[in-house]
């Protein structure tokens, strides 16, 4: 039995309100105790002076198991989207995905809600759950058929699984690659009105009301969308939502000059929606910040804008960009760790995001002020498709502990 005591660090406990200096005592792969405690004689001590100690980030919704990028970004667990080359609609594929990162990284696969993600027939959700799936997902698309979506919600709720959905009405979104507005008009890009998101959210909220199912809207990016979620939550529905830093710090004018690294799904929104997203983080409407990590090489991105694949490599910049929210006074560091770690862990039902006794000893040691410059040419990720290229940021993860072991 080895005991480790992390001392002198400032603890960013998601359950707390402020940073507090204290000790984290670890035995094997679990936290024994945290706070103002006496370090036992037999414990090895780790000095975390000058660093913030936080739970490892839990990234709710990534498209690739990209360990170097996750480790750089302080992410110790990620929920893998079912949109893989073979959609994760089968227990065997789920079992394989859960093993892909171990031991130093844990993948929690999201089971495809429907066979082949086609939005028609229910996939074997129960068998996939038994194989390790932690949630059910519609993937990159929403399920257009409301009857199918209702049955997905209803069935998943019986298994205690949350349904992670993509909120874009496919009839409106169609082949659009940009949000309707000045930029799309100037560039001559196929576009869809931003209300495609609210329409999808409104329907799914209705279905959640009927079925009692739990829904997590993976990326909500518009004012109208946040308004619907606030109202649904006030009614006591089991609705949560997430966002990625791109929608907090960029608006659709980032697409100017046809920058395919800024081609995302859903597309970047107006400046007004961007401000609404910041407000939604500040007022607690947003539950999760995800990297939505989707590394894409030149074969997917060095193409005309509308032909390029959507998505950005976000794992490395997730923490540093999110720390801007703390600097700007929108959230405390503790609250940020709730968004980046505790809430996603809770939605997935996995042991993470906590300093409580018995919690997994997944910890990151952050130097929150360390400056660095995002460089798409020098990323740890499988590809450097970041719309934040050349942006100066602050905040580096200096050490990562996964299950009691430093990496």
């Amino acid at each position: 039995m080895t005991k480790l005591a992390i001392i002198n660090g400032k603890l960013a406990d998601p359950a707390g309100n402020d940073l507090a200096t204290g000790v984290i005592l670890i035995e094997d792969d679990r936290i024994l105790a945290t706070g103002d405690i006496t370090v036992p004689q037999d414990a090895e001590t780790i000095d975390a002076a000058g660093l913030v100690v936080a739970p490892g980030l839990v990234d709710l919704g990534v498209f690739a198991t990209d360990k170097p990028a996750f480790h750089f970004g302080g992410i110790t667990r990620a929920a893998l989207m079912p949109d893989q080359s073979s959609p994760l609609d089968d227990a065997g594929l789920i079992r394989q995905a859960t093993r892909a990162g171990k031991p130093d990284f844990w993948v929690h696969p999201i089971a495809a809600a429907t066979r082949g993600l086609k939005g028609a027939e229910l996939a074997e959700i129960g068998m996939m759950q038994a194989a390790g799936a932690k949630a059910v997902g519609t993937g990159r698309q929403w399920i257009a058929d409301s009857g199918v979506m209702m049955r997905v919600l209803s069935y998943a709720s019986g298994l205690g699984l949350t349904v992670i959905t993509h909120a874009e009405d496919s009839g409106l979104a169609g082949k659009a690659v940009a949000t309707s507005g000045e930029t799309a008009t100037r560039l001559g890009l196929p576009h869809a009105p931003a209300c495609a998101e609210a329409m999808a959210i409104a329907r799914d909220i209705m279905l959640a009301r009927v079925t009692g199912g739990a829904i997590h809207f993976r990326l909500v990016t518009t004012r109208a969308g946040f308004d619907l979620i606030r109202a649904a939550r006030a009614d006591g529905l089991r609705i949560t939502c997430g966002i990625s830093p791109a929608y907090l710090f960029l608006s659709d004018n980032a697409v100017t000059d046809f920058r395919t690294f800024a081609r995302l799904s859903p597309p970047l929104r107006s400046e007004d929606d961007r401000k609404a997203a910041i407000e939604a983080v500040a007022d607690g409407t947003v539950d999760v910040i995800t990297s939505s990590h989707d590394p894409r090489g030149p074969e997917d991105k060095r193409l005309p804008f509308a032909d390029a694949a959507p998505g950005m490599a976000g794992a490395e910049t997730l923490l540093a960009l999110s720390l801007n929210l703390v600097r700007d006074g929108h959230v405390t560091l503790n609250r940020l760790m709730t968004l980046l770690s505790a809430n996603p862990a809770r939605i997935l039902g996995v042991n993470g995001g906590s300093f409580a006794a018995g919690a997994a000893a997944d910890l990151i040691f952050i130097d929150p002020d360390a400056p660095w410059i995002v460089d798409s040419g020098k990323m740890a990720a499988q590809a450097g498709n970041t719309p934040f290229d050349r942006m100066p940021v602050q905040g580096r993860v200096r050490r990562i502990m996964k299950g009691g072991n430093f990496l």
Partner: protein
Amino acid sequence: MPDIPVSSTQSDLEGGDLTGRALFPHRHLLSIADLKPWEIRFLLDEAEHWARSNRGGARKHDDRLAGMTQINAFFENSTRTLLSFEIAGKRLGADVVNMHAGQSSVKKGETLIDTAMTLNAMAADVIVIRHASSGAVALIADKVDCPVLNAGDGWHQHPTQALLDALTIRRRKGGFEGLIVAICGDVLHSRVARSNMLCLAALGAQVRAVAPPTLMPPEVEMLGATPYTRMDEGLEGADVVMMLRLQNERMDGAFIPSPREYHMLYGLTPERLAIARPDALVMHPGPMNRGVEIASVVADHPQRSAITEQVEMGVAIRMACLDVLTRGARGVEGWA
């Protein structure tokens, strides 16, 4: 030809107050949005010279681009624009090579960038590109060492079309200040409309975008045009009526119910043309859908229609653009 009213901008033809040759500080011609009004006027003045020489008799050759290779890389079908660029290049003495997507390795899965690198390796001196995707031409321009002319990219831009339209208007109307130009039809999917709105607004015209609501781009005002969804209101007092081609694939009920309903509501008929100014000019970038967006009797009107003149000015504009963009490479004094 009807009387040409001489406006205050007649001096455009002479190049303004400054007599020296204006520089054109652009490596490529990708979008009208990149151009200052005086740069547009400079290209129009240059083209005016070629328009005159093109009418000057049987021998139209000028060999200033002799020994240079011009590649017309057309990834999307075109007849008149390709022909126009080919004739323009040949009149300047360039060796013109045409590459059609249909017969190229693009069909075999080669990426656009690889194709661009291939064209570049063949040491082209100027490349003219058309592509069905917005932004594709700029993507290639970034990767090659020679000037690139955008001959149309998706819904985005078709700058030489806007320049030839402006030249046609200037020759027929004398200038742009205060001129009301109605651009009518499928504005949403039209690169011609986007280029023309920016170009004509920059030159001082009052531009109107006239389209069914389903074919009107959002925030079209930002491109300098006032939106009108009723044809008759959009035509009121117009000096120029510029019709756009309605693509066949838009007519199947997706954006408008049918070609005949479109013709009823937005077709340019003699009755409707009467709403515009009595001397209003009729333009169309071609190819026309006769009986859909424009009635034959209007398209063929000997005084009012400038449609064949547009084609003629197209060659002049493309000669001007090819000449100006290759001056650096040719070592023309003051440009190299």
